[in-house]
Structures are given as structure tokens and as C-alpha cells.
């Protein structure tokens, strides 16, 4: 596809893509790549600095940090994609309804989105996570719901601009039901901005999830979520800084890679951009 070609021109986007593939590989083959399991405690070896055996050192329970980070990739990617999936489908669907039908439905839906938007998303995620209780799944839902308004707005905007176009009139004239029109004609045309938002959204979701875990909401130990690892490493930061260094680095590199790809996608999909 032409989009692919345009993306290849940006070195940062390519690097980002490579990094994400590496991440996926790490997540899929964690049990092969990681030398230890993420929960195996070995108190004798607690607080060891990075060495050839423990590449990133060990934490307060003697667990190998490198292995935990590798397994953590699995968690982060899961959270990121499922959360975005939730936001995208619910938000996108609501946005499509609002844009397509307009009038009262539009008003009501957008009002609800306004309400959601007037609460900073982190706060909203925290509130939802707190009410749902701890756990990975609840974390995904919390992060997912807090991002719904973004997708609703994007889809609504796209739908509004497409709705007036003639092929929609044609479809109606042939007798397609509204739902069919929405799914077959309108949504496929909104894909470009949604894909960009989704890529960047995965980054935000991972960041938010890490933040929530950092505060202590969501993940239960011993699950190796990167934010939770940062949180527990925080108490030892004076003496064993590596415990916070590596999980943070992992988060940052992941998000950086996703941002590279998202930016690259946005530039590649933008028809106005001529180099």
C-alpha cells in the first residue's frame, strides 16, 4: 500500500515499528526468552546488582528483574490493546450513532462525552479502577472507559463529514438499513484517523495503566506490571536505583516506539503533506 511506502521513508517510524515487533516477540515468547519465571523468589540473592546471571539485577524478593520485565511486556501489551479496543468500539460506535443520526441522539451522546471529558482521564480511570476493585481485567476496563470520549469525537467528526456525501444517499435509496450503512460505508471511511488515534491510544493506555499500578490500584502482586515494579522499587531508590531504572526504561521505550509509529502513520495518511 502507498501508506506503507510513505511510512518507510521516516526512519523513526521504522525504528518504532521494529521495536514494537521486538516487544511482541518478547511478549509471545516470554517463557523462552526469560531465564527465570517472574514470581520465583530467591531471598538469598535479593538486591543484587546487574550481572551476567541477573541481567538487570534482582529485586527485594530476589526475583530476576529482566525476566519480570520480559513477562511485563505481555501485561502491558494486553492492557494497551484491550483497553484501546474497549474505547474504540464503544466510543466509535457511540460517535457513529451521534454523527449519523444527529439531533437529539447527537446531543445526548455528546453531552455525556462532555461530562466524561471534564474529568481528567487519569482521575476517571482511578475512580473506575477503585470501584471495580483490583485486578488486571478491571484495570483494562478502567483505562478503556476513560478514553471513550476521544474516539467518540473522532468518529463523530468523520461521520459528519461523510454523511452528506452522495454514496450514502445512494445506499439509502437502494434501501439499506441505517445500521448496515453505518457499518458498511461510514465506518470504513473513518479508519485513518482512528488508526492514528488508536496507536497513540495504546501508548496512553499503557502509561495510564502503569500510573495506576504505581499508585497501587489494579495489579496484584506478584504480577510484573512495569508501573508496579517502579512503585515497589521506589522505596529502595537510594541504594538500588537499578530497580526503578529498568522498568521505567521499558515503559518509556515502548511508548516512544508507539509514538514513533503513530506519528509516522499520521504523516503517511495525511494527504496534505508533501515533502
Amino acid at each position: 500500500m502507498e501508506v506503507w511506502h510513505r511510512m518507510k521513508r521516516s526512519p523513526m517510524a521504522v525504528i518504532g515499528l521494529v521495536l514494537i515487533i521486538v516487544l511482541f516477540v518478547m511478549a509471545l515468547f516470554a517463557n523462552v526468552i526469560a531465564p527465570f519465571t517472574y514470581s520465583k523468589q530467591n531471598l538469598v540473592h535479593a538486591f543484587e546488582s546487574p550481572s551476567s546471571k541477573y541481567i538487570f539485577g534482582t529485586d527485594e524478593f530476589g526475583r530476576d528483574i529482566f525476566s519480570r520485565i520480559v513477562y511485563g511486556a505481555r501485561i502491558s501489551l494486553q492492557v494497551g490493546f484491550i483497553a484501546v479496543g474497549i474505547s474504540m468500539f464503544i466510543g466509535g460506535f457511540l460517535g457513529a450513532l451521534a454523527g449519523y443520526y444527529g439531533g437529539k441522539i447527537d446531543n445526548v451522546i455528546m453531552r455525556i462525552m462532555d461530562v466524561l471529558l471534564s474529568i481528567p482521564s487519569i482521575l476517571l480511570a482511578i475512580a473506575i479502577a477503585a470501584s471495580l476493585g483490583p485486578g488486571l481485567f478491571n484495570l483494562m476496563i478502567a483505562v478503556g472507559i476513560s478514553a471513550i470520549p476521544n474516539y467518540a469525537r473522532i468518529v463523530r467528526g468523520s461521520v459528519l463529514s461523510i454523511r452528506g456525501q452522495e454514496f450514502v444517499e445512494a445506499a439509502k435509496a437502494v434501501g439499506s438499513s441505517d445500521l448496515r450503512i453505518i457499518f458498511k460505508h461510514i465506518i470504513p471511511n473513518c479508519t485513518a484517523p482512528i488508526i492514528v488515534q488508536a496507536t497513540l491510544g495504546v501508548a496512553t493506555a499503557i502509561l495510564t495503566a502503569a500510573g495506576l499500578s504505581f499508585i497501587g490500584l489494579g495489579i496484584q502482586p506478584p504480577i510484573p506490571e512495569w508501573g508496579a515494579m517502579l512503585s515497589s522499587g521506589r522505596s529502595y531508590i537510594r541504594d538500588y536505583p537499578y530497580m526503578t531504572l529498568f522498568p521505567g526504561l521499558a515503559i518509556m521505550i515502548t511508548i516512544l516506539a508507539l509514538n514513533f509509529v503513530g506519528d509516522g502513520l499520521r504523516d503517511a495518511l495525511d494527504p496534505k503533506l508533501k515533502r
Binding site: 453531552r111 482521575l123 475512580a127 500510573g211 531508590i237 516512544l256 506519528d263
Partner: protein
């Protein structure tokens, strides 16, 4: 010749502007009710008995029941909600903290100044760094400066604020001892948290400035200005910036509003007694009234900031201002 064309407000303009403000405030009300509703529902569904949380595990059944009756915790949802809205709207009473027993409004008001200061400093740093870098990147598009700036902007955007905070503490507090790692009373205590929080905002402002400038520089009126024989410096300063800054003002305002309630992580790391940290603790403690009041305050603050940004927009963009003539 004036840069920002500061308007002379005409009589008519005043009245219309006030009417506009009034209408915006009115439309806030359903939003606020909606926010309250959502938070109320979330708390209602949250597991954990607030009575137990406040009174402790040792409390007797009787004490617990008394507490529940006193706070009306056994009434149906709608009743509780209506009661809350009524008291908040007409008595300005949004309850007392379960934990500290002080009025919620007091708790929040004492926490707000810290949050506002933190947000303000971060935004100021972001403007001072982000706008100039964005402008230069746009003027020298595709240069090394541009590439490096954009790379760092992306890094700043990707860096988790809590990690950056920890790194800053590690370097400047622990190793170098230049700045304290907690508190917010002295100027030096404000440095590290503001820097940590500003990283993302700087990134956003830089990128936004750059893209806005790029778009403006391609405009026809820039070409007209050059055709007048104007120097490139004045073309950028007087013509390009005046137009490019308009959307940037909006973004900065929105960021500020967002930081008012969203600086939670920074406040946690640096132990800043602000609204965000208050909220997190309240949520963990199931301190319902404090959580409700807090979110309400944050929503109000954010909406007020939005309104101010819109008014500022009208002030700065003559095309919008014309609607109020």
C-alpha cells in the same frame, strides 16, 4: 504598529460578552450534575463499607449501624443523590470528610493552592521553552535542529512523569543534594516537581507550535508580506506568530486545566499536598464525600479554565471577536 491588536471594547460588545458568559455558565450545570452522578454511581458501586473504613475493624456493629444511619448510607441511590445535589447547590455544603471530619470544601480549598502553583509553574516553563523551540523548528524545518527538537519532544511525550520524577529525585536530590525531594513550601522545593510535570507539556507545546507555524508560514498572506519587502524577521514575528499563536493559546489553556486535576502522580511522588494526592488518598480510604467534592471541584475548575480560554480566543482572534461587536 501593535502586535496583538488589543481591542477597544464597545458598549455592545460588553453586553454580548456577558450574555455569552452567562449562557456558558448555565450550560455548565447539567455537566456538573452529570459529573456528580457518575462519581456518585462509581462510589456507590465501590466495594467496601465506608463505615468500616472510617471506624476501623474494631468498631462495634452498633457503631457501624449508627454511622450508616447518620450519613444516610442505607437510603436508596436516588435519594442520596438528590440530597447531595440539593445541599451542594443551595447550601454550599458538600459534606464532611469521613476521615478528618472537616468540611470537604475546607479540605479542598487548602489543597488547591499547591495544585494551582504546580500547574502554573509547569505551564510557564512549558511556554518559555516550548514556544521558542517550536518556532525555530518550524523556521528551520528539516534541519538538524528541527530533527533533534522533534526527537526530544517525542521523548518528553513518552516519558512517564512518575519515572522522570524519580530520576530527578535520584540525580538532584539524592546524589547532588541540590533540591529537596518533597514538600512544596520553598521555591527550591517547587523546582523538581514542576520540571517533571512540565516535560509532557513542553513536548505538546513544542509540537503544536511547530505545526501551527508551519501551516501559517505557507499562507498567502505571508507571501504578501514578503512581497512588500518586509524583512524575514518581521514577517515571522508580526505576521506568522500573530496567527500561529491563536491555536497554541487554546492548547496551553487546556493543558493547564488538565493539570489542575491530573497532576496526581507528580503530587504523589513529591508529596505535594495538592488536590490530586488528596483525591487518591480519599479514594483509597473510601472517603466518599471528599472524593465527590474533589471531583466536582476539579470539573468546575476545568470548565472555568475552558471558558476563560474561549474568551481569550475571542480576544485574540478578530474573526471571533467580530461576533461580539
Amino acid at each position: 504598529m501593535g502586535f496583538f491588536c488589543a481591542p477597544a471594547f464597545f458598549e455592545e460588545g460588553w453586553k454580548r460578552m456577558l450574555k455569552y458568559i452567562f449562557r456558558r455558565i448555565l450550560s455548565l450545570i447539567p455537566v456538573l450534575i452529570g459529573v456528580t452522578f457518575i462519581v456518585f454511581s462509581l462510589l456507590y458501586l465501590t466495594p467496601g463499607d465506608p463505615a468500616r473504613m472510617v471506624l476501623g475493624d474494631q468498631a462495634t456493629e452498633e457503631a457501624v449501624t449508627d454511622f450508616r444511619i447518620k450519613e444516610g448510607l442505607d437510603d436508596p441511590f436516588i435519594v442520596q443523590f438528590a440530597r447531595y445535589v440539593y445541599k451542594a447547590a443551595f447550601k454550599g455544603d458538600i459534606g464532611r470528610s469521613y476521615v478528618t471530619k472537616r468540611p470537604v470544601s475546607d479540605e479542598i480549598l487548602s489543597a488547591f493552592p499547591s495544585t494551582i502553583k504546580l500547574a502554573a509553574f509547569s505551564v510557564i516553563i512549558a511556554i518559555c521553552l516550548g514556544i521558542p523551540f517550536g518556532i525555530i523548528s518550524a523556521i528551520k524545518q528539516y534541519s538538524l535542529f528541527d530533527s533533534i527538537t522533534m526527537f526530544f519532544a517525542l521523548v518528553g511525550l513518552s516519558m512517564p512523569v512518575f519515572w522522570l520524577g524519580l530520576l530527578l529525585i535520584l540525580l538532584f536530590s539524592v546524589r547532588l543534594g541540590w533540591f529537596p525531594s518533597s514538600g512544596f513550601d520553598t521555591f527550591s522545593a517547587m523546582v523538581l516537581p514542576s520540571v517533571a510535570l512540565s516535560a509532557q507539556v513542553i513536548a505538546i507545546v513544542t509540537r503544536m507550535t511547530r505545526s501551527s507555524m508551519l501551516e501559517v508560514i505557507r499562507s498567502d498572506y505571508i507571501r504578501t508580506a514578503r512581497a512588500k519587502g518586509q524583512t524575514e524577521g518581521k514577517v515571522i514575528w508580526r505576521h506568522a506568530l500573530g496567527n500561529a499563536l491563536i491555536p497554541i493559546v487554546t492548547i496551553v489553556g487546556l493543558q493547564f486545566g488538565h493539570l489542575l486535576g491530573g497532576a496526581i502522580l507528580t503530587e504523589s511522588i513529591f508529596s505535594i499536598p495538592g488536590v490530586g494526592r488528596l483525591m487518591v488518598e480519599a479514594i483509597k480510604m473510601r472517603d466518599y464525600p471528599l472524593v465527590q467534592g474533589g471531583v466536582l471541584y476539579v470539573a468546575v475548575a476545568f470548565s472555568v479554565v475552558n471558558l476563560l480560554v474561549d474568551l481569550l480566543y475571542a480576544f485574540v482572534d478578530p474573526r471571533i471577536k467580530a461576533q461580539y461587536r
